[in-house]
């Protein structure tokens, strides 16, 4: 059974004048890293926001772990965490207060909190600043605290919008390791990116969205089969999103 299931999902802005997502259908299986690619304004962020319940689709159905996002939002949210493309977090709280808040609302038991917070703070080198207000963090550090918060509940599904933007090479490397580790436990990861190399190396399957429509979806091999002249993901991407 797919973990994420989008069926004929559409969303438009300006009273239907701008179609951001147009009849999108795709599924993501358990344990899969799914990369979502597309040019600027193709509908990636809109799709991701609908997936986590921030936007309501005009049409179609989104199901996460068997829960309809529109009809059973709390159950879907309980198994999903989200990392936005811009780390807008409570600047007046300390890093630890924010993590405690997230732990409380997701109902994470104390032992698990201590273990996960300790682990990720060390990996992301946030341990020495965790009692400082988030206001004093750099952009990359804010990104890391949002990632730590998203990992804290040990979610079945993680949805990330451009998670590698703003991270230093070391943190980006560790995040990619985490992606693999997360999915090796049978959990699922859905993320958007502009970095072709990352998508090519890391993703089990890739979806390419252009002008709101899914123009290709499959493993790297399946995508290569679409266009025999192009061998790299970048070439395939440029070819598919040319018009």
């Amino acid at each position: 059974m797919p973990v994420i299931e989008l069926t004929n999902v559409s969303k438009s802005y300006n009273r239907g004048k701008v179609k951001a997502v147009d009849g999108l259908t795709l599924t993501v299986k358990p344990g899969e890293i799914f990369g979502f690619l597309g040019p600027n304004g193709a509908g990636k962020t809109t799709t991701i926001k609908m997936l986590v319940g921030l936007l309501r689709p005009d049409a179609g159905r989104i199901v996460v772990e068997g829960f309809d996002v529109a009809k059973d939002p709390l159950k879907a949210k309980q198994v999903t965490t989200y990392v936005p493309d811009y780390p807008a977090v409570y600047e007046r709280l300390t890093g630890l207060e924010y993590l405690n808040f997230i732990g409380d609302v997701y109902g994470v038991p104390k032992a698990e909190r201590l273990e996960r917070i300790g682990k990720w703070l060390e990996i992301f080198e946030l341990a020495p600043v965790v009692t400082n207000p988030i206001q004093s963090y750099s952009h990359g550090m804010k990104q890391k605290i949002v990632l730590t918060a998203a990992l804290l509940p040990g979610p079945r599904v993680m949805v990330l919008d451009e998670p590698l933007v703003g991270l230093d090479p070391r943190a980006a490397h560790q995040l990619k390791e985490m992606f693999r580790e997360h999915c090796d436990q049978g959990k699922t990861l859905f993320f958007s990116t502009h970095i072709m190399e990352v998508a090519e190396k890391l993703c089990d399957r890739i979806g390419i969205i252009h002008k709101g429509r899914l123009v290709a979806c499959g493993t790297m091999e399946e995508l290569r089969a679409l266009d025999k002249t192009e061998q790299s993901l970048e070439g395939i991407f440029l070819e598919l999103t040319e018009k």
Partner: protein, 569 residues
């Protein structure tokens, strides 16, 4: 590009972004959203008309009282001075946040603009804000005066010029203080404390000024002084204005019209304003950017927690509602603008009332019937029902007529996405937010009760009855404020000031509150006219308010469930 056109471009951009004109235009005409706001604002404006009419009548009465003594110009001075005081008071918030803490500075500073151009563009935005802020105080006074005194063309032309110049001197004074302070004192890392201390100092200063003015208003209790006071026209004006001469110049410029006195004073006011303005332009070239260096960086000490410390500080799991309440509490108290307009205002308003009350009683009368305490005491001795109702009204105003509940959702701003993705039901989050707003309202009721006990020496039973009514009314007004904010939360802000001080929802909620209190007033009046016993009137009011409180709270929770998924971030 010439300096003037460059300046015009920066000012235009500043005004557009500050007042959200581009966004509003886009929403109204492109997205066709929020159109319902237009008739609503029209309706709200109509709702203000009776109050405005009342104020005009009051000013007219004061004019007629002062005119036979040749003192009517004091009215103008009072209006203008009050306006300038308000400018001074609001100026501190506007200037500190616009000059130093607004995020567009990061974008403006790298542009090829002179520091003075950036500062002038900021100053222009603040000026427009100030014109809007003081309009409610200054315009009714000046216009009523003009109509009563049959002011000619000179009066109206000078009024327009004086109004245009009014904010410059007070704003320049605040700017000099702020820019110099930022340059010479190393406060950049403690900006929160700076805003808080600055605001409290200014509030205290303005209070002292009021006390000073209050003292100077009444004549000394000896016959010669009284005679001298009345034989010299404008003596009251000069006494009032001696604390701040520009108000006297402004008064004489307005009242004098195109006469020699009018023009001379207009020239004086405009000249001094221009000089002050030039002064801050020169100063900004030298000092403005220097105070900014390093301001964007807030640093904290780096310290790793030990295993034990971490274990102590990692929560063992609170209920989701408690976590939301804790977040509201911390963010409100740690954001100076929110703290000032929420928690501090409910404490400060009753305290100001005490000061005004004690000030009035200390003057020994003769102040033109403005002796608040005496009026209140007369009232309280006459009828116990009125005592309780008056005290309840005072407590309700102190506790609930602020921007806490009506900015609850707006205050989350760009972070609202967190509330949308966490697995906590909207009604549960809203209930926690309600509890937070209501606690602040309760703090106001408690402070106001203490004040009522001190000034009016109310009996405990009367106090308890009044507090009971105010607490029930508080539930209703808090829920109504939250419903209004939830209908259209203002989430798109970078400066927290916008979320609470420049938020239309706060204004709409205040109008709604006034409407509810007026309806309650008419209800009570009908009961009193029906010759019902005091206890019955109070009981009916309590039951009526309680029923509305329960109803409004239920509507709020239901509305939260509906509205949360609709708010797209």
């Amino acid at each position: 590009m010439s300096m003037i056109s460059r300046l015009a471009t920066v000012i235009r951009a500043g005004l557009r972004s500050n007042f959200g004109l581009a966004t509003l235009k886009h929403r109204l005409f492109k997205e066709k959203k929020d159109r319902w706001l237009v008739p609503l604002i029209g309706l709200a404006a109509l709702g203000v008309l009776p109050t405005l009419y009342g104020i005009v009548l009051l000013i007219k009465a004061a004019y007629l009282l002062l005119q036979p003594m040749g003192q009517e110009r004091a009215l103008l001075t009072l209006g203008l001075l009050a306006g300038q005081l308000l400018i001074l008071l609001f100026g501190i918030y506007y200037i500190i946040s616009a000059f130093y803490f607004s995020r567009d500075l990061e974008m403006l500073i790298p542009l090829p603009l002179r520091p003075s151009e950036v500062m002038i563009s900021k100053f222009a935005v603040i000026m427009i804000n100030e014109y809007l802020t003081v309009a409610a105080i200054v315009l009714p006074v000046v216009i009523t005066f003009g109509v009563m005194a049959r002011g000619g063309v000179g009066f109206w032309v000078n009024t327009a010029l004086v109004y245009a110049a009014l904010p410059i001197i007070p704003l320049a004074v605040v700017s000099v203080l702020v820019v110099a302070m930022m340059r010479f004192i190393n406060v950049s890392r403690k900006k929160d404390i700076l805003i808080l201390v600055g605001s409290i100092v200014l509030i205290t200063a303005s209070l002292f000024l009021q006390v000073g003015l209050g003292r100077s208003r009444g004549p000394q209790a000896n016959p010669e002084a009284i005679a001298a006071f009345f034989t010299s026209p404008d003596s009251l004006l000069n006494q009032v204005g001696s604390k701040f001469p520009p108000s006297v110049w402004a008064t004489k410029a307005v009242a004098g019209g195109f006469s020699g006195e009018g023009l001379a004073n207009l020239a004086l006011l405009l000249g001094v304003s221009l000089a002050f303005f030039a002064g801050i332009v020169v100063m900004s070239e030298k000092l403005f950017y220097r105070g900014l260096v390093g301001l964007g960086e807030t640093t904290g000490k780096k310290r790793r927690l030990t295993r034990d410390e971490m274990s102590r500080r990692v929560s063992s799991g609170r209920r989701a509602g408690a976590a939301v309440f804790g977040r509201e509490w911390k963010i409100m108290n740690r954001t100076p603008i929110f703290l000032l307009n929420g928690v501090l205002v409910v404490v400060i308003v009753p305290v100001i009332a005490v000061l005004m009350g004690t000030m009035g009683s200390g003057r020994g009368g003769g102040g033109g019937g403005s002796d608040l305490t005496a009026i209140l005491k007369t009232l309280t001795s006459s009828n116990q029902l009125y005592v309780i109702l008056g005290a309840a009204l005072f407590m309700t105003i102190c506790g609930s007529l602020n921007g806490t509940s009506s900015s609850t959702f707006s205050r989350e701003g760009a972070q609202f996405w967190i509330s949308r993705v966490i697995p906590v039901a909207p009604r549960e989050q809203t209930a926690a937010k309600f509890l937070h707003s209501y606690m602040i309202a309760t703090l106001g009721v408690v402070t106001a009760s203490a004040v009522a006990a001190i000034i009016l020496h109310l009996k405990a039973v009367h106090l308890a009855a009044a507090a009971g009514l105010a607490l029930v009314a508080g539930v209703l007004l808090t829920a109504v404020g939250m419903i209004i904010d939830l209908a259209r939360p203002l989430l798109d802000w970078t400066n927290p000031q916008k979320a609470i001080k420049q938020n239309l929802n706060v204004l709409l909620a205040m109008l709604a509150d006034v409407g509810i209190l007026t309806a309650a007033f008419f209800g009570v009046r009908a009961l009193i006219r029906a010759k019902l016993a005091a206890n019955v009137v109070l009981g009916a009011l309590f039951v009526g308010l309680a029923a509305l409180a329960v109803l409004s709270y239920r509507i709020l929770l239901k509305f939260a469930d509906k509205r949360y998924p609709e708010i797209e971030t």
